[in-house]
Symmetry: D2
């Protein structure tokens, strides 16, 4: 059978293929097709890397034209036309209209590489070693990023001590009535706290992997104020929820605050091609030439995709479109999902939403929902503590009909499986 | 002017653009063209990522066809047709003929990510924390990889302690008559050495960034024997000199030994697209699903490129071709370069060669040579301690004429600048 | 002048001599005499090492007799009569009446050595690396102990990262309404807290150096319960407030809970001689012979002193005596001190008390009080955050008259200096 | 039976009592007596803490007089008459005649505390983190000292990573023809060695615990020169072989070089009482008041002992005496011991000597010799790798007759047990 070769030769570390047990072939927009022709609505969007849909036609034509013309594909950090066009477009469409004055570092093309670069930079600038990070946060799998990632199982895979990081509860956390900003303030003011002033605080405006936990604008403003007052750099990891996912291009626009360093990856190339950038206030650019490098930091196809994606995002007024779809999802979840079980809660912004089952007394419920959705033609994953949150993250460009269809599949899957739970309970 | 935007908005960390001061546009084979139409022979090959030349036509057609058909581009670790074809081809062309029994992990698409994965895996398997690494070695810029990288300036950019690693002199090192294997053996047998038995030894068969230092086959065999006897995993970082660079597909074939874990990246995709894989003996595959992950570990365009590149490599009998060109370079350097100055030495294998200026008393000599080459239409870089080695690393597919042309440019650049040195000396 | 030799040849690290600027000569009970014949009441008690007074006559005679008989003075961990007598007496007077089933480790003769041994042991037993410690806590200056000590200035003197420790607010902390036990519970139950389950929690029942912060019995019981439930070892550092300081021999008796490991030093030898012991539940004694050692772990004079001190403590019913004096101090501070300024607070137990000036707006007030006391014949020190607490810690054996005299000197010193502050303010 | 209480209540960590299985009572000079009246010659000298013999009468009288006069016993770092007298005598007898310009830090009273202080100080001065240490070296059991101790079993007892230290082979090491100074030089000059320039190098002139390995004067001079040239602090841990053990007061006098920092403990108090000091060149005294502290750093009885010991050492011309006895031991070992087995080697200086059995093919031979010696009335221990060295370390004051007697017991014990081995072999 056609999957044997994977099972025999691909490492056991493979994961998504276990839930989405097919061999995939083509994809377009919000649809993916398996080899056998089965069709799936995609509420997963490449873990956030496909905000503009699979094989977005506008972007695709630009990439094809570039390839066909034998333009340079791999450029390290040499100057290229493709990079210049990206910088120009990024300034024009994104930075200047928002009056954001950032310089751009082109990192190795993965989110974790941008995280590593930001931590190095913060430590280099401040000559301090500590980083404050948040419980529930996810920043990557290489050693520096893993040290600021809170998932204990992932951390233990490093096999060594992950040091120089202090974790704090997030804006929204399982601990009731815990005011993290107040606690940080107390720690920073206390010469006997055991915790030195850090180089930086790294945060996500929405913890996507952490279970769609949403920081309130007020909390983010207080975090900014605290960082400023203590001379701590504030790093926004906007890798999963930037690039328009929450509506505006950057997710921190929601709070009206400006981080010192911003990390983008995943959807920045617009086409699922590896790329990451680090934005920093100009005075923070203390790098020496080549001090941080990487073979693929000049992935030119990704630059072409990124430039096209910015144009596409603007031309199609995706910010508005996301708001419209957000309203739909919010209403659907509120009216059609919450009513299914009193233990359910929902939260979200733009086109990232979570349905939280942590108060439903069935440890395997989300796994069952994910499986049932898949059977019915929807690709969706669970996230967060004990995987208790179903995370909705369709392409921003999804047609309303497919959005509705996906939501219906979720509703049905929950209904089926929650009912099963209740039935079992009633017999119990 | 057209470069202003880079200088104003791109981070100071940019490096290669300072030596190769042009905006580049098109490239084909072993030639790169600047925006203004200037043409350069490429002896740099994307730092080893372009073994099959820029925009290799065979690979390009496969990638174009894939893109045009709206096949899936971003697949995380889902099963896809593109990945299956790669695995099949890799088995058929590479692993099976060499009787190598490896499983494949698709890592985040950068070399440093594969290094990080290998260190995690070795520590997980052995439940030990230490790693032995080599002076002169380079493995990447994320924290785990940086810890096994020997360049002290790069290391210090981390801003924190890089621990759990012990460095040893390499096979070829500045320390005369030092037998590293004997020393390791003594350390491992001594309960008072202060150095615990490590999880793994990570090595390159040729230290490319380290200045084209070449491990002897005998040394590698002894390293393998020592690792086996002590139950230490042996990791071969074949990122820069694998994929045919030295002639055979894997660079360790030269020694007739088999590492426990092999890391490939750079040229594996054949087209400069980000991709990396980790090969491991099947019994080492103790990963749990998702224990190491990454958004771009399923870069499908790279898989298409990689499959095509393997075909291309085999069809064109590149192994033979590299041997032929190696003979040319060896002879040229021996006859035409060594005669220029008694302080020069050369070393190399396949199509990676170094001209070592460390005995030439002019600290800036290699920089002058690099600049002069660039003025005369050759892209080449220096490497190693104090950048004292000129590293020749053209695409494996380079036409003999261009190879000769590049070598002539180097010869002339050395002659001009060494003469200058001698003249100054004679006046001094 | 007679102090020049210190100033020229003794390291700048010397500290107490700066506040207590005399050369000291003789001492007896709660009195110390300088070379010039000046007499001081001692409310400092050797930082807690002289609970039974200077040159306690009962203990002294035992030590003299031992010395005169040429009995062994230095015994490493050989069996000696002196050690056997100590163990017997310790069982008889301390452990058995309290139904405490501990084994005894004789550590290197300093508190910090016992702390180091306890952390090693906890990590060895649990095979975990982390330790939970408390803000405000003090455990010593060697690297392992310093890592669990919260004072940031002391920590920075190590010059390297102090890792594998997580700090939490103490029972009584500057952060209002923070429930540490609840927070620990949340952290331990959260797979995304970033904080692994620790090997041990180390705590003081009263943070003496931290400013006489007192854990409530209820808090200690909850800490015990939490540790038990999660399989975490609970280490009580009773170095400063054990040996009868709070009334009962162990300070944790106040809470009716039993730590897994208890550390004693300072007053255990009864005569200011270096000694420390580690008590552990028998099942925790997983040490291999010689796995932790130290040249002076068999300081026989200290064992003789310690045996005599236990006898003295029991014969003189010091527990009752402390209660009586505690009542006096409590009343004096409440009636005579609190009335001096509305910003003052007091706290204490047994014969350790703190007068907290942190709400008095004069950063140097405690330093002035300490100086004024010294001028008037009282040795006393400040402690805690910003040294804002005056710490009363006389020998347990102090005569009531001297206790009153010392308290009067404090009262007068506060009155004089608080008045000065107020006057300046009224002019300001 | 009288040892039960130890076996039931004292931790399993106890070690020497297992070899010297008696309860000890009195001791005088080089003799120790067990409770039952058995008499032992002492070739162990409290692991180096009893250079002037047990209960040295001259020192004893000074201590008794001090105790009887109710002089202060515990003084932290206050100025006391006892400390002043020690400083004066130390200047007069030791530092000034040797033209040594050191300041004195009184550390917590254990060797390991002095080691910890020296490492902190070196890191503070240089703002570097690394330390170079030697294979075979022993410096203590607290975490900082353990990190520079090479014994892997001891190290693993810490349960966490011991970082920021690089180990090098010692002057005399199991690795033939290894020139450590040359290797260090190469490492320090190599920007790709992976090893940063350290804050300090810590060394022993003779590795006592390491098996009586002796650094050559030439090697020490080269170490000094290398340290000077690279701006690295040189710390001499003279804890076990200082205080006259090798003849001159400091063991480094043998090489005619001067360390930047010198650590003394063990025999400095002259009477087995806990005390340690750190000597540093005046310009290195950058400590802030109280930056390193410890409750027992003012052990006044030890100061009295130390002052008397210096007087005793000088009055009795111990340096000459040691030379005389050294000659005896050297001759005895050469003539009477080496002849017993061709696998034996000896090495030593002053009154520390090792008989090395590592070439005798019987893993348990030294244990048998130690046991047999004990049965015949001699206390002696084994040391070094695999405990293969019998270490002779009698008090410096030992009577020649007892020295001879001890040597004879050793000879007999070796003869008996080596014969047994040979017999078994000849039958085998």
């Amino acid at each position: 059978m056609s999957m044997e070769i994977f099972e025999q030769y691909e490492s056991n570390v493979r994961a998504y293929c276990r839930n989405f047990y097919d061999v995939f072939d083509r994809a377009k927009g919000a649809l993916i097709y398996s080899e056998s022709g089965k069709k799936f609505v995609d509420f997963f969007a490449g873990a956030g890397a496909l905000n503009y849909g699979h094989n977005n036609e506008y972007i695709k034509q630009k990439i094809l034209a570039y390839l066909e013309s034998d333009s340079i594909t791999h450029g390290l950090d040499m100057y290229t036309k493709a990079k210049r066009e990206f910088i120009e477009k990024f300034l024009q469409i994104i930075l200047e209209p928002r009056k954001l004055n950032y310089k751009i570092q082109f990192c190795g093309p993965t989110g974790t590489n941008a995280v590593e670069a930001s931590l190095k930079l913060a430590r280099k600038i401040t000559k301090r070693t500590g980083i404050f990070a948040f419980m529930g946060g996810f920043h990557g799998m290489s050693l520096g990023s893993l040290a600021v990632t809170s998932n204990i199982q992932k951390r233990s895979s490093s096999g060594i001590a992950l040091s120089d990081v202090t974790f704090f509860p997030y804006s929204e956390s399982p601990i009731d009535s815990f005011d993290t900003i107040e606690y940080m303030e107390a720690v920073l003011n206390d010469g006997h706290s055991g915790i030195e002033k850090p180089a930086a605080i790294i945060f996500e405006t929405i913890q996507a992997e952490g279970g769609v936990n949403i920081a309130s604008p007020e909390w983010m403003l207080r975090l900014r104020e605290l960082s400023d007052r203590h001379g701590i750099l504030l790093i926004c990891d906007d890798i999963q929820v930037g690039c328009g996912r929450t509506g505006p291009f950057f997710s921190f626009e929601r709070a009206g605050m400006i981080p010192d360093i911003v990390l983008l990856s995943k959807s920045i190339s617009g086409y699922g091609l590896p790329m990451s950038i680090l934005l920093m206030k100009p005075e923070l650019d203390v790098w020496k030439p080549g001090e941080h490098n990487g073979t693929f930091r000049g992935n030119q196809l990704a630059f072409i995709g990124a430039t096209a994606a910015l144009e596409y995002w603007e031309m199609n007024n995706l910010e508005q479109s996301v708001k419209y779809k957000e309203a739909f999802v919010r209403e659907y979840l509120t009216k059609q999902i919450l009513s299914l079980h009193k233990g359910l809660t929902i939260r979200g912004a733009g086109l990232i939403w979570g349905i939280d089952f942590s108060n439903v007394e069935d440890e395997r419920i989300t796994q069952k929902v994910v499986e049932e959705c898949y059977q019915n033609g929807l690709i969706i994953e669970s996230a967060g503590r004990k995987d208790s949150v179903i995370k909705l993250m369709p392409p921003l460009t999804i047609e309303l009909e497919l959005l509705q269809q996906g939501c219906s599949i979720i509703r049905q899957a929950i209904q089926e499986n929650i009912n099963k739970v209740l039935e079992v309970e009633s017999y119990g």
